[in-house]
């Protein structure tokens, strides 16, 4: 029975892992192979409802919504993953250094961390994006500034526990340098928690980028991005709801897959 449970557990995980990989690969490929030009404006066929010709309908400029959703997937998914990778790497490195060395370096870096944590993340991101101006790169910077903090906190607390372990003392007596102890001995023992947090945060980052684009601080139209597409579609919610619902539905679906994957990963690593 235990083996059956484990097999099912592993099967679910690999299914979700395959789904995540498929989504990433598709978002990369499909952005270049859309049924229609996602940016070409047309004079006819505006706000066509979903049908055989246009599965997700057309928008107010006659563009195929499916093509724009596919084109936007590259921006939304890949930029979310890049953002999570960057903030996780930066936050983890900083947290491990603070947790390991402690003292003044820890006090200074963690107070900076506290300053960022004191503000609601999205509000701070909007403020930073507003200062930097629109565009995907600036939106990524704005969200990065607010998202590295949790990884730093998590890595710091885990490092503080690990550095008192006997194997770290033994590594010191083996002549290992501080860098070696931090990143070869401690990091592999705390990385699973950080990977799970990062996997769960892909959807949060996706929501953040889409949120900024929705508010006009992220990707600028006519470039396709799910948040900006929802923003464009909100004007036609009553007459052409597919304009907003198609990107929103796909985004929710992708976020659920990433969240389920993160949860399963947590279960696997905790087992």
């Amino acid at each position: 029975m235990y083996n059956n449970f484990n097999r099912k557990f592993a099967k679910d995980f690999w299914l979700l892992f395959a789904a995540v990989i498929l989504i990433i690969v598709l978002s990369f490929i499909c952005g270049s192979f859309t049924p229609y030009d996602p940016h070409a404006l047309k004079t006819g066929g505006l706000l066509e409802p979903p049908g055989i010709k246009h599965i997700f309908g057309t928008d107010d400029h006659g563009r195929d919504v499916l093509s724009r959703v596919l084109a936007g997937s590259r921006t939304s998914i890949l930029s979310s993953i890049i953002l999570v990778l960057l903030s996780c790497t930066f936050g983890t490195a900083l947290g491990v250094i603070c947790g390991y060395f402690g003292g003044l370096i820890d006090i200074i870096l963690m107070r900076i961390n506290d300053i960022f944590l004191a503000f609601p993340g999205m509000i701070l991101a909007v403020a930073i994006a507003g200062l930097l101006g629109g565009g995907l790169f600036n939106a990524l910077i704005a969200i990065f500034v607010t998202s590295w903090t949790q990884y730093a906190r998590l890595a710091r607390s885990q490092t503080m526990v690990q550095k008192e372990e006997a194997f770290v003392h033994a590594a010191k007596l083996s002549g290992c340098s501080d860098i070696n102890i931090m990143f070869v001995h401690i990091l592999p023992n705390i990385i699973s928690t950080l990977i799970v947090t990062a996997a769960m945060n892909v959807s949060v980052a996706m929501m953040g980028i889409a949120g900024l684009s929705f508010l006009g601080f992220g990707v600028k139209i006519p470039h396709a991005e799910w948040g900006s597409m929802i923003s464009e579609g909100k004007k036609y919610l009553q007459t052409a709801p597919w304009m907003a619902l198609a990107p929103a539905g796909v985004m929710v679906f992708v976020m659920i897959i990433f969240n389920l994957f993160g949860e399963k990963l947590r279960d696997i690593l905790a087992a």
Binding site: A166, H169, L173, G175
Partner: protein, 266 residues
């Protein structure tokens, strides 16, 4: 501490003080309250001697091991290794010290990185501290693991895949990689059952004879320690309450605390 003092290959006589602690205190500050883990501790260790440190949990035994190996910095006092002050060493100087002073931890499985195979941990100390390792690093690790009575196949196992006793042997093999002049055994047998304890003690004494090293044996087990040590130090609340030749301390204890310890054993 200079290079020559520690790396020099000169032979000391059996009565030479190889390690000495002078008025060492270790004070922790927890939430504004000061707590002395070590309070004005002074003792020495002679070359090729087996010194036992006895005390209850929290008496400061492990703190002594940590201040000697530099894992904790003493709040005051000085520590000398072969006449050189090693109290506040820089990183690279500590690495030179670790070629001469090694430690075997109480919880052997926890003293190995759980994500690494035993062999990798032993190879690491060989690579980092044994400058003139003869043959390949792997061969040296295999020789070490076989010296402690384990098959070389154990090098390919993770700490959780072997027993506590086997792990303790592997920990001894790791410490012996540098052929230390001083080996500190911090309650190295307390987590083991009696039969395995005897095997580990025999192994340590055999290695001590073969390698001519000094041994500091830290334990709360007075009966065990008194049977293998030349001298005894009895600790209570961070202080040395009694010290002397093992026979004298056991047969004619001076402090009330030692008497109570002996009464508890007998």
């Amino acid at each position: 501490m200079n290079n020559t003092a520690v790396s020099a290959d000169y032979i000391k006589t059996a009565d030479e003080k190889i390690l000495e602690l002078k008025n060492v205190s270790l004070i922790f500050n927890e939430y504004g309250k000061k707590f002395a883990a070590l309070d004005d501790v002074s003792f020495y260790l002679k070359s090729s001697e087996v010194l036992g440190i006895i005390g209850e949990s929290g008496s400061g035994k492990s703190s002594i091991a940590k201040v000697i190996t530099g894992l904790n910095k003493p709040s005051s006092g000085s520590i000398f290794y072969m006449g050189e002050d090693i109290t506040r060493l820089k990183k690279e100087q500590k690495h030179r010290l670790y070629r001469h002073v090694q430690m075997v931890f109480q919880n052997a499985p926890a003293s190995f990185n759980p994500r690494r195979k035993i062999g990798k941990s032993i190879e690491e100390i060989i690579c980092r501290l044994c400058a003139n390792a003869q043959g390949s690093v792997r061969q040296k690790a295999e020789k070490l693991i076989m010296e402690v009575g384990l098959d070389k196949e154990y090098l390919n196992r993770y700490p959780h895949e072997i027993s506590g006793g086997q792990c303790q042997r592997a920990a001894i093999a790791r410490a012996m990689a540098v052929s230390p002049r001083v080996l500190i055994c911090d309650e190295s047998t307390s987590a083991l059952d009696v039969s395995v304890q005897a095997v580990i003690i025999d192994l340590l004494l055999k290695l001590r004879r073969e390698k001519n090293m000094s041994l500091i044996f830290i334990s709360h087990d007075l009966a065990l320690v008194s049977s293998i040590t030349d001298r005894l130090i009895i600790m209570d609340s961070g202080k040395i309450v009694e010290s002397g030749n093992t026979c004298d301390v056991v047969s004619n204890p001076q402090s009330q605390y030692t008497k109570r310890l002996l009464d508890a054993v007998l």
